[in-house]
Symmetry: C2
Subunit: 322 residues, 2 copies
């Protein structure tokens, strides 16, 4: 089936296969979405009516906080509760660091043969919001497939990652004692993001102090939410059930208070915004390519006759006239 000649009923059949849980179709759609194929947009729109059932959980924290081990254990716990699980693992990649520590993922291989678990790593970093858009698309596919819980694991290092977290219904912030960055982290508005704190490596010195600090700073947030603090030792499977309980309790609270809908609305409008933004960015890039061929404008700039702000103003007027 070449997607170059896909008819509407082909697309419907494809979407139906995903909704029926067909792993190969789902994986193919994720690749298409990652490659920004126009076909992916049509298919995602066809899937959309079948979404809104999965509870989406963001899990974030500094590198070395043990997020991958925690995710591994969360999968096992949810599976034990009869729930299926999707995981979107967002690896930071940069022109300098070269990206993912793939070794960390090997641990999760034991779930590879479990049909109730679907793991997808995301190593690409595209244009603005590219990371969160890709993660959002994958979460949409997983939701449509009927997976009960979708975990989005991200490394807390930049705006892209914060945007990813904003795609979640419930966000778990993983912290570990001894990194010495507790206060900075709290300063940086993490209280606004976290629904649950996991103090991982809770057997290490400093865990008590960290948990106490997290407790005592809760009143600093703009809203007066209570943020549960769960101690875990992911490598020893300690505290995992408590963490899953905390997530499920939060999901229940969101549902009963009506806040689930609010967060869902936020997620969906953000998805709309990203699509609009991407389209506008593509237009601007085209404009920029044209600008680079406009020798008259380049000469004005090089000779310092027109300042960048002056040229920008002219271009904006041009855009608004179109």
């Amino acid at each position: 089936m070449s997607h170059g000649i896909m008819t509407y009923s082909d697309k419907e059949a494809f979407a139906q296969a995903v909704v029926a849980g067909d792993v190969r179709s789902a994986a193919r759609l994720m690749r298409l979405a990652d490659d920004r194929e126009p076909l992916a947009r049509d298919l995602l729109s066809l899937l959309f009516p079948h979404t809104g059932r999965a509870h989406i959980v963001g899990i974030t924290g500094n590198p070395g906080a043990g997020k991958s081990s925690l995710v591994d254990n969360l999968i096992t716990s949810w599976r034990g509760r009869g729930l299926s699980v999707g995981v979107v693992a967002v690896d930071p990649s940069s022109p300098f660091s070269g990206g993912a520590v793939l070794g960390d993922r090997i641990r999760m291989m034991r779930h590879a043969t479990d049909p109730g678990v679907f793991i997808r790593s995301l190593a690409t970093r595209g244009a603005l919001g590219g990371l969160s858009r890709s993660a959002g698309d994958i979460a949409t596919v997983m939701d449509a497939m009927g997976l009960d819980r979708v975990l989005i694991e991200t490394v807390g290092v930049g705006q892209d990652e914060v945007d990813v977290v904003r795609m979640a219904h419930t966000t778990v912030v993983v912290m570990v004692p001894g990194l010495g960055d507790e206060i900075q982290i709290l300063k940086a508005g993490i209280l606004e993001i976290a629904d649950i704190f996991a103090v991982n490596k809770a057997d290490k010195p400093g865990a008590d102090r960290l948990a106490m600090e997290l407790q005592s700073v809760q009143h600093l947030g703009t809203d007066q939410r209570h943020i549960p603090i769960v101690r875990t030792v992911a490598t020893a499977q300690e505290g995992i059930e408590e963490l899953v309980d905390a997530i499920e309790t939060h999901a229940g609270l969101l549902r009963s208070s009506g806040e689930l809908q609010e967060r869902d609305a936020r997620r969906l409008t953000q998805a709309v915004f990203q699509l609009v933004h991407e389209a506008v960015d593509a237009d601007l890039t085209e404009l920029f390519d044209r600008l680079n061929k406009e020798n008259a404008i380049i000469d004005e700039l090089l000779s310092r006759r027109s300042a960048p702000a002056t040229v920008a103003q002219r271009l904006l007027e041009l855009i608004n006239k179109i």
Copy 2:
């Protein structure tokens, strides 16, 4: 002088003070630019005819590569050659890491009383391209002040930083032995960015191998440029003169080959693009705020009647109609 009631001649006087090298006016303008004050744009445009003299040098590399020590030594060397130096130190700040290691800057304090040195740290991370735009604005002010060399120091961790490097005429990539990430770094297209490699901590084991690897991968780049490799031990002031020589030689080559103009054109069109982008982003954010109040659209999304792509398409048509 309140900038609320600044007349054109007030602005001209302000700009003239900066061009005359007045440090207080320059610092004030940098703050205004950082705060995205409209006044800053006017002042930067007035300064623009006085720019184009400084040679702008980007210096980047992984955290721990010893960039700050190198910068400190580069300043001393240039000062010894009778050249004035501006430094824009771009510190990564994120909601999680909390930003700058300020201790590293203390070393540079010995230059604080030297009127031929102007150092400005930049810890803010704004919207898209915010970091590179701020760095570019500061470099513009330093150029207009008559500083001979402007160093933009950045930590190589993301797209923002790569954009900052693109604002430079000459880019030095600092690498250190033993980080074990040589191959990844080279994979990631750093050959496209680097004009000079500095192998810092060259007294450490592995420096020979790193230098050899850098030598042997040069032919992998898309262009067949020769990228000089300079060994330095910043903490012992070794190799600094050689590094400055390499930078000055590169600057000379750019001038004699005409490539300096090309790079200048690239810098300036990028500045234009960023300004256009920022203005469009502001419009989109306004649109998004309106979208979040459109209950009919939110309901369509929440009830899964309209997919995000469908809503995005409608909004794009709306934008194009305006």
